[in-house]
Symmetry: C2
Subunit: 451 residues, 2 copies
């Protein structure tokens, strides 16, 4: 009796690569067959593209649809490129409607229309409904497989009716209760249903008006909602309060993972779909943009330095020490910025506590500025034996840490007001400010007092 | 019928702060009473400490335990400091045993022992069992509220037995099946139970040997397991395969959030418990350490610059341009590093694909190096009208982007082998390398060719 956890991990990748290089295709095929489609997707994503195509040949065709649903966009497109059209059609037929809606956007027009033509009537209707919602809304992500009952029946009737089903969605934690017009009334928890007597009426044991969300709501809100209320599922309703779908906690888990990844990647200017094993050329192109943006900001800092050529020419020690001031500001500022970004993500930042926060962060910056400026000034003095430079670097450091604290608070607020995601560009803007203030204060003070 | 989502967010904080400043304590008390304990915890965490104490007075004492369970350690300790001992005792009595185990570690010895003395016998035993597992293991996080049945009974018996319960845990998606010795045999999904006939035997409709994890396993593995298999719950077993608890997807959601937060915060050298609204002094102390580490690395870079005083003294343009080379290397390297850290977190990195990755990242670095070095050389030439400096900065930039790619791959691997978390210190080590290589290549080439 093995825990699945033990069979996962990078050893699995190692084994796959070994089997591939030894040509043990039969063995590998059998091993893959044993795995969950999500795990097969994970293995495929961990391989360089040429190996991916080989392994794709070995996975069971009937799992194609589900494996593709579990892959990242870029890796999936790479697979589609290698698949004959009829295989794509077959895989599409195996997908849940909400996954298919995502995949269709990645495929060429002609294949898309063939797929849609071949769909059964009611499946196509559901697809059209999903497509009618904007990307990033709850309607795009909800599942359509919802079990609902009416409130004017008793538990015995519900149980008999359920027993006529061959199966229920695996993760059913509650039945949705609707009225004659399909409007959502509330939830009948399975945990309650199971302990209720046959005569009990649904109306008496259901929970009313709970756990619902609009199909047009932003999917990001689901994460907060599920976390704060420890939910397993919510009903999705349209504008007329008619039950149209269900969001389960498994959808929210996917959403959280996607958000966490996106947050991690975007701090480095990377696309959320960036594939570690993508070919070099497209990667270079995508990442180059971010380097270009950074180039503009660093030339701005260089321009500031350029304004002080005279004093730099006289005191070469300034050139040696100037990165210290700039760098310390960048680090301190990014600490404040990170806390602000988290606070904003958790909706903890309101007008009335920003002033308190600013005072607090300025205090933190001032305290650390004073403490470390003593150290920096001492090192500078011991190195260059120049009291003027030692004093100036100390003062510049304090100034830059204060500027860093202020920037760490205000930059994300300003970016947000401008409709720009602070997690994406906050760090670039911040380090531009701390670099410039760092060079300006250090070299500026030097010009004033040393020339 | 309001969606809960609509009532959340920073407006709520705004309203609370307004009510507080207007002295509307009664209104505020009523408003808080309507909220889920997790939401009350969120509000408390969004307030500066003095306001927190005021609002804490207004929340219902019977919710104290659950609210505290939902708070971050640092914020919780702040609340404990203000609470009289008997209130802490009462709150502790309301907590789940797994939450209490966490909280006990934050309290002073004398209060801890009083709490333990007052616990009922079986609650204390469960507490001791939880405490016997190490922090960060599944045993610490599992819930003890598990509904289990035997396999040699039929559905009718199970249903009658369930109906004798007043309630089941709210999120029950499956009953655990055990043998006479309490050993875990498998799962009976509620979705199957509900559609089965009374005569069906549990043995025939259960799923055997699925979804289990050892109590001593690392809790991090749960996230991967739940995600890859779309699970709602797993059975937790001890070394003798005896069922000892259950992990639900709600626990995993908490775990994912904690991991995502920790990953975000540690890139800025922040503690996972760092509280945005903590007082300035302790914050300054905690963050100061990270600044100190950075100071050492930036002085190393300064020392490298110091080796080139002669050439800097002659060509002040070098001092102006040198941050460009260093900064571009840092950005490019952090892109590779971020992808590696993600790849390692997803267990996608194995020995056999590292070579492929290294070649790919060096190619990306080389391509971007060539592209941007042309731009940088051109700007440098137009600025300083010096072909030598323009050529040197171009070459130095290519060298540094190659070094950045190599560092982005090797640094996280080396750190991991040394048992250091790459997400925590990878960026510091990386930028130290790219700064030093950047200054060294640019100023070194300048010394060789311009002097």
């Amino acid at each position: 009796m093995d825990s699945v956890v033990e069979s996962l991990g990078s050893q699995m990748i190692e084994l796959v690569l070994m089997d591939l290089s030894l040509g043990n295709h039969g063995l590998l095929r059998d091993a893959l067959y044993e795995l969950h489609p999500a795990e097969q997707a994970y293995i495929l994503e961990s391989l360089p593209q040429d190996k991916r195509a080989l392994v794709w040949e070995l996975v069971a065709p009937e799992s194609h649809g589900e494996i593709l649903s579990h892959m990242h966009e870029e890796a999936r497109i790479g697979i589609f490129d290698e698949m004959p059209a009829e295989q794509i059609l077959a895989a599409a037929g195996e997908m849940d409607v909400e996954d298919l809606a995502v995949v269709l956007e990645e495929l060429p027009e002609d294949i898309t229309s063939t797929i849609i033509d071949e769909l059964e009537q009611d499946y196509r209707q559901r697809l059209e409904m999903v497509q009618s919602f904007e990307d990033g809304t709850v309607g795009r992500r909800m599942s359509h497989d919802v079990v609902s009952v009416r409130e004017d029946v008793n538990v015995g009737v519900v149980m008999r009716w359920l027993r006529r089903h061959n199966s229920l969605p695996l993760q059913t934690d509650a039945l949705m209760v609707i009225d004659d017009n399909g409007r959502y009334m509330g939830k009948l928890d399975v945990s309650v249903l199971l302990v209720s007597q046959s005569e009990a009426m649904v109306a008496d044991i259901m929970r009313r008006d709970v756990d619902l969300v609009s199909a047009s709501a932003n999917e990001h809100e689901l994460v907060t909602m599920f976390e704060r209320r420890d939910l397993m599922s919510v009903a999705v309703v349209n504008d007329e309060q008619v039950l149209v779908g269900r969001i389960g906690v498994d959808d929210v888990l996917d959403l959280m993972r996607e958000e966490a990844e996106r947050n991690l990647l975007k701090t480095a200017g990377l696309d959320e779909q960036e594939d570690l094993f993508a070919p070099a050329f497209p990667s270079a192109k995508r990442r180059g943009l971010w380097l270009g943006i950074n180039l503009v900001t660093v030339f701005m800092a260089a321009w500031v330095i350029g304004q002080f050529e005279e004093v730099l020419d006289k005191f070469v020690a300034l050139a040696v020490l100037m990165p210290v001031v700039a760098s310390m500001g960048g680090i301190a500022g990014s600490q404040t910025l990170t806390l602000m970004i988290r606070g904003m993500a958790l909706d903890q930042i309101a007008k009335s506590n920003v002033r308190w926060l600013t005072v607090k962060e300025l205090t933190v910056g001032g305290l650390n500025g004073i403490a470390w400026s003593v150290v920096v000034a001492l090192v500078a003095f011991l190195w260059f034996r120049d009291t003027g430079i030692a004093l100036i670097i100390g003062v510049a450091l304090i100034l830059n840490l204060l500027a860093a604290a202020l920037s760490g608070i205000t930059i994300p607020l300003l970016l947000k007001r401008m409709g720009i995601d602070p997690a994406l560009s906050g760090a670039v803007v911040l380090t531009t400010v701390t670099d410039i203030v760092g060079f300006l204060s250090f070299l500026g003070l030097a010009s004033l007092f040393l020339l």
